[in-house]
Amino acid sequence: MIEARRGIRGLAFEGWTALALVVAPFVLPKIGFVPDTMNRVLVFGLFGVGFDLLFGFAGLLSFGQSAFFGTGGFVAAYLLTRMGLTSVMLGLAVGVVAAAVAGLLVGMIALRRTGIYFAMITVAIAEVFFFMENSPLSDYTGGENGLPGVPGPTFNFGFASVHVTGGWSMYVFLAVCYFVGLALARRIVASPVGRIFVAIRDNPLRAAAVGHDVHAYKLLAFVIAAAYAGFAGGLLGVLQGYMPPEAFTFDTSGQLIMQTVIGGLGTLIGPLVGAAVWLYLRDFLQGSLGMGASWKLALGVVFVLLVFFLRRGVVGGLSDLIALARSSARAPGKAAPGGGDDAPVFAAAPQNSNPAPPPARDPGEPEIAGPILQVRDLSKTYGGLAANSEINFSLERGELRGVIGPNGAGKSTFFKMLTCEINPSSGSIHFEGRDITNLGVTEVCQLGLSKSYQVNQLFTRLTPRENITIAALAERRGKFRLDLLRNPADIPGLSQQVHSTLALVSLTERADVPVSGLAYGEKRRLEIGLALATSPSLLLLDEPLAGMSPRERVETVKLLKSISKGRTTVIIDHDMDALFEMSERVTVLQLGKILVEGTPDEIKANAAVREAYLGGVLE
């Protein structure tokens, strides 16, 4: 993952890219690149930047990018040829806007589904767009002829005017456009929005549960990718002086995908490398070796091999190699690689021996009298099975409530309804006086109710620090904010919150180790930390002690006691000793209904409870 960096070092990536772009015209022709090919590489590289944001970062595999490539290209070309617009840059800009709008409309349809269905819808959309271009709209698009005569831009610098046509002047123009696009993408990736994209790809369920409007972010990614595609499409028309109908074909989308994967997903510069490889091999294999159509076979095989073995493509593989070399050169045992170089938001602040837990969310309005949580007649049935039946449950502010019950009692289902992950069949839930019964998990989290999961729902590709940051970002920024260019370090209080949460769950030492490298107990603590970072006023903990060793249990119980100060907490667990030690009151569920409620002592003595667990007691 690309780290956010500050200062001169932070711009190393951009610097190297700029250098490569400047040097390329002197070096590449020696191995057979001609200006025209290099220009095409730039156009497709730019097309791919947007796609990489969409797929490499946000994880959305779309086969329909050609629709936006073509839309942007043809709108720009139409304005510049048939409508007589003289400013090429303005034409391109309008093309970008048109493509973004198309992206928004298509996204609203396509993103209603995920994974494979999403991919299939994008295929269909691409075909529909191609058809529209070819037939009904052919008066505007020139049908299968395309739109010829697209002019190159002219720049007036006062003292001189430069008209860009083909060849090297076009290269300079395109290189500048590419660089701007790339630098912008880098900013987006480093911004909170970029971080959230990555989280969504990793674990969309949890991203929603910590308070992000996942659908809105996906749509944003889709629109951004469409805008890049539209820009690249417009540039293609300018490059060739002709806008071809093939821009809309499924083939173009497929070519983009293959180039990006070959070059490297999630690297932003991968598509440029992939396009260079693709176009170079096409010319080289076809021309010099006279292989005819088999260049595509060679590329297809390379593609399959890369998907198999080198999922991160050429650039990804190279950067992994470099990282590997760096880390083995570093002294072993050092906890946090790259800790000092990172931006302040990720850096470890000075240690505080008794960190205060992040405060519970400030409700803003004066505290409402009455229970913080009021559940009435809550039921959930699945077909014939009643998972929860008419549960009446209320919670006072500041309480620490335990919930126990034999397996199959409906405890987890109950929690899921509270967080609005599932909708109840009947009944109502009121949180802080507000009816939250059919809201979504994101809204509820933003209101201050969140949960730590029984089975870890972590962002496994990120580090603990990054995990907590994701949650904290939702807490700081609300469920959706369009801060594409913001540096996370500029968000007030963010680093403080992340740091203190990490300290609270004792993960400061391990904050920069990828989750996959953590021990189970550490992962459980991170799980709790995630829920905590959303600053909930009501915190639900689903079996926080599951799978822990006795020593870990003791530590975790201490942790749970400390975090329950100043907030309301409900804990489900099977470890009754721990639960009775921590809770003020305990609720017992059985077969979807509440059996009994009371203090731990009362519950311990209750015969019905013993019977429920042991199936009868021999007196």
């Binding site: 001609v34 200006p35 025209d36 070819n134 037939s135 049908g143 299968e144 002829n145 395309g146 010829p148 005569g149 060849g167 060739q240 002086g241 002709y242 071809p244 109908p245 093939e246 821009a247 010319d283 076809q286 021309g287 005819g292 159509a293």
Partner: protein, 452 residues
Amino acid sequence: MAIGKFGARDAGPVSRRTLLRAGAGLAGGALLPSGLILPALAEDQPALGTWPDGSSGSSVFVGISVPRTGTYAAAGEDLIKGYELAIEHLNAGSEIMTKISPNIKKGVLGKEVKYGIADSEAKPNTAVQNLTKFISDNKAVMVTGSVSSAEAVADNKTADREKVIYLVGISGSNDTTGKDCVRYSFRECFYGQTAAKAIMPVLIKNLGKNKKVAYLTPDYTYGHTVQKSMEEFGNEGGWTKATDQVSPLGTTDFSSYLLNVANSGADVVVNINFGRDAVLSIKQAKQFGILDKMTLVVPYNTPFLAKEVGADTMQGVFAATDYWWTLEDTNPIAKMFNDAFRAKYQYSPEWSANLAYAQIAMWADALERAKSFYPPDVIKAYEAGAKVQSTVGEVFFRGADHQLVRPVVIERGKKPADMKTPEDFYDIVEVVPGEGLMQSPTEFGCKLGSYT
């Protein structure tokens, strides 16, 4: 004919260039090959397109871009054969070339012609890329080839932008020398309007007036322009359109369209599809019994159609075409061409090969008359409208739209029993002369651009 150190320039009219060149040659260029003299005497013209770079050596490069894959691949391969034969003959100074025009010598202006071939897949974008590569990499002095009009139009625009001469291959759309015409492109073959105007009177004469027509049209410019032309000329004989079934390029299953045709009540089915689409649609039309009820007309014949579809299906079918090999009975150049082609490729040439050959020959002729590779000079030589002999008689280019004025051949499929050889598919019904046939140059909106 021996080429002296100073080339064939001795033969032409004396120009300032010639004098200067001769002078330089005398002055000390005795050891220099003729080609190198040209750039040393920098003309008053700035460089244009690939001139003078592309013609400064002892050879020049011609870029050929045709479909080798896809629906039109067969015609593309045939074009290649025509080009290759022509370039071979040109470099060898063959007699056929001289018969076409006495101006043609060995090579072009003393230079050998080299060439390269690229697959355009019948896609405009790929064609444009091919041309651009030929021009920037190989410094091609001329580019040529197309089977679909979409390619041809895209190639037109590219050639005009790059200032390199482009010779159209197959392109049936009226617009290629109509609203999409460019100063730098020249078309030899026939097209929708000429085909329709030539074939319609023959049809009316043979089949009668007031017929209902079902059209099978491929969904792009070529298809629509031919369909419009056919309808327009058909009106004069009271022919009306019963239905127009428009199919996308590359359709393999025409059943839906053919069922609509079968139920349309038409007397005649006009199949405008080209290439493999034509082969499939006709084969399937036979399967759906349409050819038993209706007469088939192919207003723009596809090369090898009869061979692929079979004489049995093609009997009685009216077609308009650019060239058919039995013209050799009346045209000696056709006979020479056919013989040479058969010797090399073991079958009689179709009109695509003939087209390619003719374009190369006429280009060589124009170059010799221009005495230079400077594009505006060559263009002006074309526009002068000099007459050349060809396999279809005397032809010449029109200056106003760069279309070759030439006849259209109307043929009719023979009964299998009447075929004298396995290739003898058609009777030539009429050879309609071009001059009365072709519309006025501006009728399709041609506005040629500038020379430079």
